[in-house]
């Protein structure tokens, strides 16, 4: 999937991941259909890099993140962590692998055990993975708390005695304790006050720089990830619809859904005029996703036509920009048959009822 320089192997490699939740109905609880929370998602995360996963509420971001760590069982697909097939692991090796891949949860209030002190919560991971014990473990806990910006004496506090921002720092210290290489940050700041959000984001960035961590950074709007992401993947209804290096995505958003998301991002320059794309209708239910392009009922692309409802658009390379820095050489992939170039040729489109040829459409530019 990646066309990066040879020799760089992705730390996490996900292919065709699907997570379907059975919908049970009736007294007997028989399965009646499924919620396709994640439906054919592929991505790579390289060492030391941040891949942001962005999309509206309910599009399957949390489920994707949890499935990668096998906190939710996937229905199909492969997940490789540093070459290890995560889905094939038995309980014990999986438990051991959890040392290397961690998660910071969305809700800092419910994700900490209310009956354990902060110190005990952070210490537990150290002890079960036999990284330290006794006084050595206590010293490590104090150091970790300091590293995330808490006072070492706060180890004896209970979660309810801390603010939301402090709790999220505990959640981060807890994840760091086992010295992971990869952390899923599931909307780590969306439950926090705006004033604290920046501090926690900065903390995560500092930790990444110091420890060479790789992040899968989940967020529901593009403004939060603008400063942290090397690459961005936009999700809609359980699928990735566009992925690109951060600057390419912000400068040249090609998937109409990304354009709509970006048009809602506030621009720093008050004089800059930008067309606001308002999506019509609600997000369809993942239990009954639309046919063809899942976005077609809400799409505003001028060339949208009947073919969109029949052809499932492949996630294919488009756009001229390519990344720089850590994301150098990363491709810009878009799932839209109406943005040229496309591998779904005219004849195929016309056979599916197309009345418009593909046409470059870029209403939102220069969101940075």
């Amino acid at each position: 999937m990646s066309e990066r320089a040879a020799g760089v192997r992705p730390l996490v490699s996900v292919r065709d991941l699907a997570v379907h939740f059975p919908v049970k109905k009736g007294v007997l609880g028989r399965a009646k259909g499924a919620v396709r929370a994640v439906d054919g998602v592929s991505f790579d995360v390289f060492p030391g890099e941040t891949l942001a996963l962005v999309g509206e509420s309910g599009c399957g971001k949390t489920t994707t993140g949890r499935a990668v760590l096998r906190l939710v069982e996937a229905t199909a697909g492969t997940i490789l962590f540093d070459g290890t097939d995560v889905r094939a692991l038995k309980a014990e090796p999986l438990r051991k692998l959890r040392r290397q891949m961690q998660i910071v949860f969305q809700d800092p209030f419910s994700s900490l055990n209310p009956r354990m002190t902060v110190g005990a919560t952070v210490r537990e991971g150290l002890v079960i993975h036999e990284l330290a014990e006794g006084a050595e473990a206590d010293a490590r806990v104090r150091r970790l708390l300091e590293e995330v910006g808490l006072r070492p004496d706060q180890a004896s506090r209970y979660p309810h005695e801390l603010s939301g921002g402090q709790r999220q720092r505990v959640g981060i210290a807890r994840a760091l304790a086992v010295e992971p290489r990869f952390i899923v940050c599931d909307e780590p700041v969306s439950a926090l006050d705006v004033s604290v959000q920046a501090q926690v984001v900065n903390l995560l960035q500092d930790l990444q720089r110091d420890r060479g961590l790789a992040y899968l950074f989940i967020a529901h709007d593009l403004s939060v990830v603008q400063h942290v992401a090397d690459r961005v993947a936009v999700m809609y209804l359980g699928r990735i619809v566009e992925t690109a290096p951060g600057e390419a995505l912000y400068d040249e958003p090609l998937m109409p859904y990304t354009q709509a998301l970006l048009s809602a991002v506030p621009v720093p320059d008050p004089d800059a005029k930008r067309q606001r794309i308002v999506l019509s209708g609600d997000v369809p239910s993942p239990a009954a996703p639309p046919s063809g392009c899942v976005f077609h009922p809400r799409c505003h692309h001028p060339a949208r036509d009947a073919a969109c409802a029949r052809i499932v658009p492949p996630l294919e390379p488009k756009g001229e920009m390519s990344g720089s820095g850590k994301s150098a050489g990363a491709p810009h992939l878009v799932a839209c048959i109406k943005q040229p170039p496309t591998t779904v040729d005219d004849a195929t489109q016309r056979a599916a009822g197309a009345t418009h040829p593909p046409q470059r459409y870029l209403p939102v530019v220069g969101a940075r």
Partner: protein, 323 residues
Amino acid sequence: MRRLLAARAAQAVVVVAVVATVVFALIHLAPGDPFGAALESGRVSPEVRAEWRARYGLDRPLAEQYVRWIGSVARGDLGWSFSRNRPVAGALASALPNTLVLMGTALLLSIALGIAAAVLQAARRGSLVDRGSSALLLVFYSMPEFWLGLMLLLAFAYELPIFPVSGVVDPVMHEYMGTWGRFVDRVRHLALPALTLTLLLSAAIARHQRAALLDVARADFTRTARAKGLSPRAVLLRHALRNSLGTTITLLGLMFPALLGGAVIVETVFAWPGMGSLATSAIAQRDYPLVSATAIVGAVMTVAGSVIADVLGATADPRLRDA
């Protein structure tokens, strides 16, 4: 914590006073009196009965009797039991320990059994073990105390005579046993009544604890525990169980009156000389002071049970500890 205790103590005094008054009124309004039908004997003439009533003040207006009684109770004097012919306090002192032993044993056993069953069920949710033990416990849960007691008697004292039929100790041989023998004798007598109460109570505890465990198992912090790399067993015991015990403790506090009521019935079935037997015979003989006193003890125990549950619940939960 201190504020909680003070508030609950004040509440307790009010509850006990109300219970005492209601019971006093009820038993006096019931037909008959200590020297009436219950003392049916041709040799006691109506004149003698009238004289006894006058001696104990039973011919006075009800209001006057109430004021005198509540006054002496407030001073700590529970009065004289007509039927036992001894001070009420003495009758209580010999019955209360028996009830406490029975209830205490049943309570401890059922907490252990109920929680163990719940953990096993939650660990293998949906399995045969889970569904089978849930169904079995439901059967015990819905059985009346006296029926279960009688069935156990029939099975383990009559058909398969392992345990004695009634009483606290062997009426004849207990005197001649050594220390160890006496202990065994007491345990054997305790076995069936305690088992009856335990089965009833542990079913309720297990059902509640299982639901609480599954509730907590869905909570985010148990997912955190799994993400850390804890084994499912450690997640269940160290995180889920500790966080779900609180609701069971509260439930036990609320169940205390039912436990007391169950104990009264079980005591009657097994002729266990505790508070239950004392209250039943006192009511039958219209022993006013004794009936009222047993009701007061029952009320005090109920209130104490719920206060203890509250305090335990609060100590176990750091969020309530400094409230």
